[in-house]
Amino acid sequence: MYEVIFYLTAAIAVLAAGAILKVSHPVHAALYLVISLLALALIFFLLGAPLLAALQVMIYAGAIMVLFLFLIMVMNLRSERNQSLSLPSGWKGPAILALILWLELMLLLNRYPAEETNEMTAIEPKAVGHALFGPYLVLVEAAAVLLLAALVAALYLSRKGRS
């Protein structure tokens, strides 16, 4: 039963992500991205990371995508049919690099076959907290300083009466 749910969710995530490229309207694309993010959250939950799932929905689907949608609505973007499916001219270089990365990933996965385990440990929110503010404290603080710098920069750039 859980396998069925997992594969169904994974299929939804991939299909929704593909649909983003296909649809021509910005709002529809944003909504497909939301669906893909929600499916990912469900997969996190199934794999035993409930806190990550909740944060995924709250932050990505609930805050960032709402802001995206807000901007699309404010700027009144409409469909752009002609540009959506044609490839830009310089696609070969990035495609080759991505292919190399994909091959490397396949090689690595072959060398270290995933261990077959049926039992799954759900990670409690408390355990995540202990890890974040224990061994990874410096990284958390560094990320916090980075975000604060971004916030200050955004405030500086958007202040009124700038000459």
């Binding site: 409930p50 807000f70 609505m73």
Partner: protein, 320 residues
């Protein structure tokens, strides 16, 4: 889980759903009666004894109206948007414990689950306003998006105090930790959560998204028939959810002397719902800039200071 357990889970969900819909119908009736009482008029009194069948009559009226999609609307999103609002609100009730053995699920992220669903609710209103493809609904949708984003932050921060005191995200654990209701230990958190809760459900004095006199009722202007009923249902389920959450988080849930816990829970929730209806008759609507100032310049700093003080005191009182 085997088949019987899935069946049991689904049927209890179905029962809870029917119960919630019934309560929402009663709330619509109750609100109209209480408004009538406070405004010294009669209220609904035609359908059935004391007008008790009024919600059913309203529902049948909305159901039998013509199912209409405006030709200028974005058809699919126009139809999906109203479903999102009651759906996310109803789903939140899954983790709410009514008494010490009456709950559907005890997630260890229950509170985050509710916050996540409440942050998804804004899509229903925003998309409804956008898909109608007409100016007043668009304004209503934008306003509501701005309002809900602004008030979600202090709401989540106000809850952090409760989480520090109880040491868990699970609502069952939070209620179990309240020998002394958290309203006494967290009075500022309670007030912030109450104000944000009213703003999240778009009720007066924060019902700017559907301000009748300036926006011609806002995001749902182009909606009729059963789709409008979904928005309406979502609003009342949302009010019920906020009342239930305040009961669980700040008023001690099922705790109380003499009578069984379920009745205490109901009594506290009904008092809060009455408070919401009373506020609606008594307060005028805020202006848009006042609303934003209140959210960002008053509630957010207050919630941060509350969190800081709670964490500081908690550090000394609690071990580890």
């Amino acid at each position: 889980m085997n088949f019987a357990q899935w069946l049991l889970a689904l049927s209890s969900l179905g029962l809870a759903l029917l119960g919630l819909l019934f309560i929402a119908a009663l709330m619509v009736y109750g609100e109209r009666k209480i408004l009538a009482l406070l405004q010294d008029r009669l209220g609904p009194n035609r359908a059935g004894p004391f007008g008790l069948l009024q919600p059913i009559a309203d529902f049948l009226k909305l159901l039998t109206k013509e199912h209409f999609v405006p030709p200028f609307a974005d058809r699919n999103i126009y139809i999906i948007a109203p479903i999102i609002v009651p759906f996310t609100a109803l789903l939140s009730f899954v983790v709410v414990p009514v008494s010490d053995d009456w709950w559907l699920a005890d997630l260890n992220i229950a509170l985050l689950f509710i916050l996540a669903l409440s942050s998804l609710r804004v899509y229903g209103i925003m998309l409804g306003g956008w898909a109608s493809n007409s100016k007043y609904p668009l304004f209503g949708g934008l306003r509501s998006a701005a309002q809900m984003i602004s008030y979600e932050l202090p709401m989540g921060l106000a809850l952090m105090g409760v989480i520090i005191l109880s040491g868990s995200f699970s609502l069952v654990d939070i209620v179990a930790a309240q020998e002394l209701p958290f309203i006494i230990l967290q009075p500022i958190g309670f007030i912030i959560f109450l104000v944000c809760g009213i703003a999240e459900t778009n009720r007066l004095p924060f019902d700017l998204p559907e301000a009748e006199n300036e926006l011609a009722s806002g995001y749902n202007t182009e909606y009729g028939d059963i789709k409008f009923a979904f928005y309406y249902l979502g609003e009342y389920i949302g009010v019920l959810l906020i009342a239930v959450l305040i009961t669980v988080l700040f008023l001690g849930g099922w705790h109380g002397p003499w009578i069984p816990g379920v009745f205490w829970f109901m009594l506290k929730t009904l008092t809060l719902i009455f408070l919401f209806f009373w506020l609606r008759t008594s307060l005028p609507r805020l202006r848009y800039d006042q609303l934003m100032n209140c959210g960002w310049k008053f509630l957010l700093p207050a919630a941060l200071i509350n969190l800081l003080v709670t964490a500081f005191l908690g550090l000394f009182w609690m071990e580890g």
